[in-house]
Assembly symmetry: C2
Homo-oligomer: 396 residues x 2
């Protein structure tokens, strides 16, 4: 009776969300202290105090009709200006308010971009493994997601396979840097190699191919030498989607922005289209009070070092036990090769009250994703469990 597409989606379910619910059930049954839940990227650290202070100051100082009211669908002009100034200062760009659209979290921003760009049948290339929602976001507008493998052990895109997969129907390429689920950061060389292929193919086909940079983890890098390139400087047709969910630890607030540089092909259509899509898709505008609050916290972050310490503890423990992991340079996910069949491994972990997400859900079979944005106590408690899991595998 309902939409056939939605019915299929309901039946397919979301592996991660199902685990999220299952984690709560296991916690109820065995006690929350006995379950080690690595399933969902729900930041477990508080926002910086500046965020709370900004909210309270705004409520006390500003006119509530302004603070809680409608504004341009693209967002408050002063917020967009503040975001543009902040980016220009950090990355040497030259954005203005007509390059920034505030959005209801990165998920909304990506939907707005895809709705703006895609005609039915248009292809969007993603490098596997990738955030599994991309498939839904592209499908929402009847686009076709094309997967290019990223090769182990570095999980950087296979440039030759990428080149061979770009067609005249390729409307966009999406990258997620730092990457969910692998934690890998694409450096300048990788970005330039991707951009070279895109320029070459644009010329060959006479098309515009947009590079969509999904950057919710931009600030989450752990080593001083790791630099996440700002892609608008590397490729002319780049659109950036950003979220404050991770940097300010505000995932429930749904706040982010899109950057649409003036130099992209059909800039005015893309910008106007994205504003229109923000409205007609039902977002209307990014939540007003939180827009104003984040604009006062653009140089703040939550305690990112927390994730770095978690990464080190988990990575060191798992590799010592004998697991093969990609050492994450950014984000808060560990990508672990399963020593046995993936589904068997996930079930075995669950038996030991450890929740991990199967890599197949990210188009990366043979691996699992561990979200380590959790309490260090849970990681500590998981170590003997992972040891027991490995023992059970070795002695079966």
């Amino acid at each position: 009776m309902i939409s056939k597409k939605v019915k299929a989606g309901v039946e397919g379910g979301s592996a991660i969300r199902a685990l999220f619910e299952e984690g709560k059930n296991l916690a109820d049954r065995y006690g929350v202290e006995n379950v080690c839940d690595f399933s969902i990227g729900n930041p477990n650290i508080a926002p910086p105090a500046a965020f709370k202070n900004a909210i309270i100051d705004i409520l006390n100082e500003e006119d509530p009709v302004f603070v809680n009211g409608y504004m341009n669908n693209a967002g408050y002009e002063q917020v967009r200006q503040a975001v543009a100034d902040n980016l220009n200062r950090r990355f040497g760009t030259s954005f203005g308010i007509s390059n920034i659209i505030m959005c209801v979290g990165a998920a909304s921003g990506l939907n707005v971009i895809f709705k703006t760009l895609l005609n039915p049948g248009d292809e969007v290339i993603a490098f596997a493994p990738y955030f599994l929602e991309y498939r839904n976001y592209v499908s929402n507008y009847d686009g076709k997601l094309v997967e290019i493998p990223a090769n182990p052990p570095e999980f950087l895109p296979d440039i030759d396979k990428f080149r061979a997969s770009v067609t005249p129907a390729t409307k966009a390429v999406i990258i997620n840097n730092p990457n969910n689920p692998t934690g890998v950061v694409y450096g300048e060389d990788t970005i330039n190699a991707i951009a070279d292929v895109m320029r070459e193919k644009e010329k060959e086909y006479g098309t515009s191919i947009y590079l969509i940079s999904d950057e919710p983890y931009r600030e989450l890098v752990y080593d001083s030498e790791t630099v996440v390139p700002y892609l608008t400087k590397h490729y002319h047709n780049t659109i950036v989607g950003y979220s404050f969910s991770k940097s300010l630890s505000l995932p429930g607030e749904r706040i982010g922005y899109i950057v649409i540089p003036s130099e992209i092909d059909d800039y005015q259509d893309v910008f106007d289209g994205a504003v229109l899509c923000t409205r007609i898709s039902g977002f209307v505008n990014a939540p007003s009070l939180v827009q104003l609050a984040v604009s006062r916290c653009l140089d703040e972050t939550a305690d990112i070092g927390f994730y770095g310490r978690n990464r080190d503890m988990l990575y060191n423990a798992l590799t010592e036990i004998g697991f093969e992991c990609v050492k994450p340079e950014g984000a808060f996910y560990m990508w672990v090769k399963t020593p046995v069949d993936e589904a068997e491994f996930v079930a075995l972990c669950k038996k030991h009250l450890v929740l991990v997400v199967a890599g197949s859900g990210f188009a990366g079979p043979g691996y699992v994703r561990l979200a380590y944005c959790i309490s260090p106590d849970v990681i500590e408690k998981s170590i003997p469990k992972f040891k027991a899991i490995m023992d059970e595998i070795k002695h079966k």
Copy 2:
């Protein structure tokens, strides 16, 4: 290059939003004090103090990881329970948390409902004049909006034409009560007449036809005898979309909820589908802090009497000048017959620095909509302007 559908939308533009921008331009040119802008439904009154207090209390009392964090895509369980309890107390219903999904404003709720229900080609019936975004929301999912006229002077649905227009492809009927743009309230008789036709046609075709009740103006009624029926009690396949934008004067915050009663056909598919669509459309969840805040303000409203006083002042003045208006029972819009051609009248108003929206944008040609959710000073200042407009019409 961009989506053909979006490109067409960009070229069509939004009459209301264009006027919104035009109003700002006129204000810059002639001084904000000289422009009377009746174009957009942007509440001009503050939220109740309870809202600000709730936000500050929550920030001071609750764990920020909970307050700003992810929750079930349907919303916090305690918020959904509070909403259900509030509805049950007010309307004698018996909803629980599995009947409530928190959403990013009514626009998001309606998109989620349409995405959940519609297969391409499915028909959705709306009674003209109607909120013009319905056309976009239905088109987003390749549905077809079917308009049924509402007859002057009462602007209640033409039930015979409605009956003749329901087909086996009719998936839903949407009503907006109190109505934007007419301010009319459909009472029990009207609702029962609509429901009778729907029951009859469900039986005749063996289909499920959902009644979607879009209720952002529910609390905005001005006469003690005006009752807005709660539709789940009148028709078994009702789904309600609600927003706090007007009742709490929070239009920028994007917060509302959907009610999916357990007795509707395919309840579980509809509920699970709506939760899925909340996620994959990019809403993910209603903004978290504001969810918690509104759940503490469910019995509060902004100063609704403000709109009642505006209604009386504007209605009395316009009818005295000789305009033919529908006396609004609810919402904050006045629906005024244009004494001359509609486009000519809109232009004439603009010449006098009065901004009104052409009725054609609401599928109601020959009328204009005046949003009177504005400062009483502006209404007062508009009266001599409307007199001058009428004089100019009479003496041309």
